[in-house]
């Protein structure tokens, strides 16, 4: 019981995830800054930002429903923290693996987007409402390719459990090369899920001010930002667990180190995408997702089905 509590609250649960989230926010910001020829923030900037937001006055619009307005950021954070518990981080097994945990993790990771929608909708501000609609529109565009891209590797491994998928590719490392198209789709879709440039359409500041978070301030904005950062870590961890399962040492400490390096690689790719493109328009984004990402992820499934038939039988 005590151990489970420690697991959930401290390692690898909430505290560890928060620390990682802030650390990777720093890495992301610093990388972007260096790529844009700027100095970038010092290492403690995300912590300082978080503390500052926590201590600031919170303004709640008079027309917003205060209980929903306050509880939504907590839902977002809780969902990502729960998702993170089912991703293996120091070896082949996660903390509490069970059948179909891949699906549960994916659903948990959809919850933050839904909370962004609700947050915007219930803050009853024009810009926030437009941001909400955009967040939902975008969800329908990237979610299907992302699910299909993760479905392919699962099909080949013959399991819906992340731990089982990791173990399968750990035994057959060369087979994970077949999943490269899926990896590309997953990373691009993750960029959309995290609402980062070039898919930062729901909070495009020059168009709709703060987007879904226009009315949020202080503590609740801080929680939302923490939720977005944790979502980035959880998604990067999920992608590295499914697509780069090779090189997993048996030693848990080394395993954790290897895990961190893999997540770092994913965050680096995400940062490169963020700096390299101009923001898409919502119609361009939807077209891109359905015309390019969805067919590629279908191709991934076909590749995996053929590979399953030809190689494994």
């Amino acid at each position: 019981m005590a151990l489970s509590l420690i697991n959930i609250l401290i390692f690898p649960g909430f505290l560890f995830l928060s620390t990682l989230a802030l650390a990777f926010e720093y890495v992301d910001r610093k990388l972007c800054a260096r790529m844009q020829n700027r100095v970038g923030p010092p290492w403690y900037q995300p912590i300082a930002d978080f503390i500052k937001l926590m201590s600031k006055e919170t303004v709640i619009p008079t027309e917003a429903n205060p209980s929903i307005f306050k509880s939504i950021p907590i839902f977002a954070l809780a969902a990502t923290a729960s998702a993170f518990l089912y991703i293996p981080i120091w070896g082949q097994r996660s903390l509490y693996p069970f059948d179909c945990d891949l699906l549960v993790v994916l659903y948990f990771l959809t919850v933050p987007t839904l909370t962004f929608f609700l947050a915007g909708w219930f803050s009853s501000s024009l810009y926030a409402e437009i941001g909400s609609i955009r967040a939902m529109t975008q969800l329908f565009a990237y979610e299907v390719p992302l699910y299909m891209a993760l479905l392919g590797p699962a099909l080949l491994a013959g399991s819906w459990s992340i731990s089982a998928i990791t173990a399968f590719y750990h035994q057959n490392p060369l087979l994970s090369l077949l999943n490269l198209p899926g990896l590309c789709v997953a990373i691009i879709a993750a960029q959309g899920k995290l609402e980062r440039a070039p898919f930062d359409i729901p909070d495009a500041e020059t168009e709709i001010v703060g987007g879904t978070f226009t009315e949020y301030s202080g503590r609740y904005l801080g929680l939302f930002r923490m939720a977005v950062d944790s979502e980035m870590v959880a998604l990067a961890a999920l992608i590295s667990a499914i697509f780069f399962p090779a090189l997993l040492p048996a030693n848990p400490v080394l395993g954790l180190l290897v895990f961190l390096i893999k997540v770092l690689v994913v965050v680096f790719i995400l940062a490169v995408i963020k700096t390299a493109f101009a923001r898409f328009r919502i119609d361009q984004m939807v077209t891109f997702c359905w015309k390019i990402l969805a067919p590629v992820s279908l191709l991934q499934i076909v590749i995996d089905i053929i590979a399953k038939g030809v190689i494994l039988s």
């Binding site: 437009i130 440039a197 020059t206 493109f277 101009a278 923001r279 361009q284």
Partner: protein
């Protein structure tokens, strides 16, 4: 979903200055748009009438933080025309040099802002980093980064020496290499073209009918540039091209601006190489004879018009400024209606707006009753006299500082 009205401004992250755009949204599309001016009236034209001609240069230079040299040049040209003064050749060349460097810095600034408006922060950071080169150069030549204080009636106030000439040529080489890279980025990078092409269309006929000026007009395929059509300073002796483009959209406006920067480098090199020797200013009496004149100047944003009327004293009787943004604002609603909400910021930014230079009136509305009050100069004076009278001060016998 029902149509909704959303405000863009007067306070909005996409706008650097206060201006109000009301957009009627049909989903993500703009069904209708209205523009309301009048948030930043500074009363400069009236203030000019109580200052001497020399003091007015300093005031008018501060109309705009970016095309400051354009406004002061346009004004001194008008005053020189009334006084019948021919400025020395060297002064004309120096004005041209500063004017072109200003165009370079203004267009680079615009390119960075365009990157910001379409959510491309990297372009913004890179361009503004390189813009520092030309800012430093301007500071080295004039002592200031924005308000150069170069112009005076009858010439310029500072000369440049051979070391400064060297510096100009050296900086131009680096800037030219950088700009060629940005030209490549703007004309080949697919995600930029995807955001700019076909956005904010303004066909040639509409551009002419609505009186667009500057790069907006040239991007609609009209060859109109005051430097060629009505040459001032040293432009009649220089070899350069007027850049036009047939895209008639934001991409066209971008292309026109980036290629204009290259032309400016060409002009700067010619100016520096062919700079004639001689005095940099002629003496002008403080009192300007009676007369009126208006002058046109190709500012980075388009044709800038100044009108000056003198009455034989050392102060002008009337100064009228028509900033290029006013001419381009008329076509804004045409450009954004029917487009996407996401494109509104870049379409507005594509005219390179300068709202504070444009405002000539302020509208005060009572937020509760919706009542509007308008005063002319005499009415405003009467209002202040009455206001003080109620409080026991009688100012009705005080002489008015200005004639109406």
């Amino acid at each position: 979903m029902a149509k909704m009205m959303i405000p863009l401004g007067p306070q909005h992250p996409a706008l650097e200055e206060p201006e109000s755009f009301s957009l009627l949204l049909d989903g993500e599309r703009i069904a209708a748009a209205t523009v309301a001016l009048g948030y930043n009236h500074r009363g400069m034209e009236k203030a000019c009438e109580s200052r001497t001609y020399i003091q007015d240069i300093y005031l008018l230079e501060r109309i705009c933080g970016i095309c400051s040299h354009s406004h002061s040049s346009s004004y001194v040209q008008a005053v020189e025309a009334i006084a019948g003064i021919e400025i020395p050749k060297r002064a004309a060349y120096l004005r041209t040099l500063i004017g072109e460097l200003e165009r370079v810095h203004s267009h680079l600034l615009w390119l960075g802002i365009a990157g910001h408006e379409i959510g491309f922060q990297t372009l913004f950071m890179f361009v503004w980093r390189d813009r520092e080169l030309v800012m430093d150069l301007l500071e080295r030549l004039t002592g200031n980064r924005v308000n150069y204080g170069m112009n005076t009636i009858g010439g310029v106030r500072r000369d440049i020496d051979s070391t400064q000439t060297e510096e100009v040529l050296k900086a131009l080489d680096i800037l030219e290499a950088r700009t060629s890279y940005y030209i490549k980025v703007c004309t080949e990078e697919q995600s930029i073209i995807g955001r700019l092409a076909g956005v904010g269309k303004l066909p040639r006929e509409d551009a002419l009918r609505l009186g667009a000026v500057g790069p907006v007009l040239r991007a609609s395929g009209v060859r109109r540039d005051m430097r060629k059509d009505d040459p001032y300073d040293a432009y009649s002796e220089l070899d350069f091209n007027v850049i036009t483009d047939d895209h008639a959209d934001v991409l066209g406006r971008t292309v026109v601006r980036v290629f204009e920067i290259m032309e400016s480098y060409k002009i700067c090199r010619q100016v520096v190489r062919n700079m004639p020797d001689g005095p940099i200013a002629v003496k002008v009496p403080a009192k300007i004879p009676t007369g009126e004149a208006f002058s046109r100047y190709e500012a980075p944003r388009g044709e800038d018009i100044h009108y000056v009327r003198s009455n034989g004293t050392d102060r002008p009787e009337r100064v009228k400024v028509r900033a290029p943004t006013l001419a381009n604002l008329a076509s804004i609603t045409n450009m954004i209606e029917g487009g996407y909400l996401a494109d509104v910021p870049i379409v507005i930014a594509a005219i390179d707006p300068c709202f504070s230079c444009t405002d000539r009136m302020i509208r005060v509305q009572d937020s509760r009753s919706g009542r509007e009050d308008r005063y002319d100069w005499a009415g405003l004076r009467q209002y202040s006299i009455d206001w003080y009278k109620k409080r026991g001060v009688d100012l009705s016998q005080t002489k008015a500082a200005w004639k109406d």
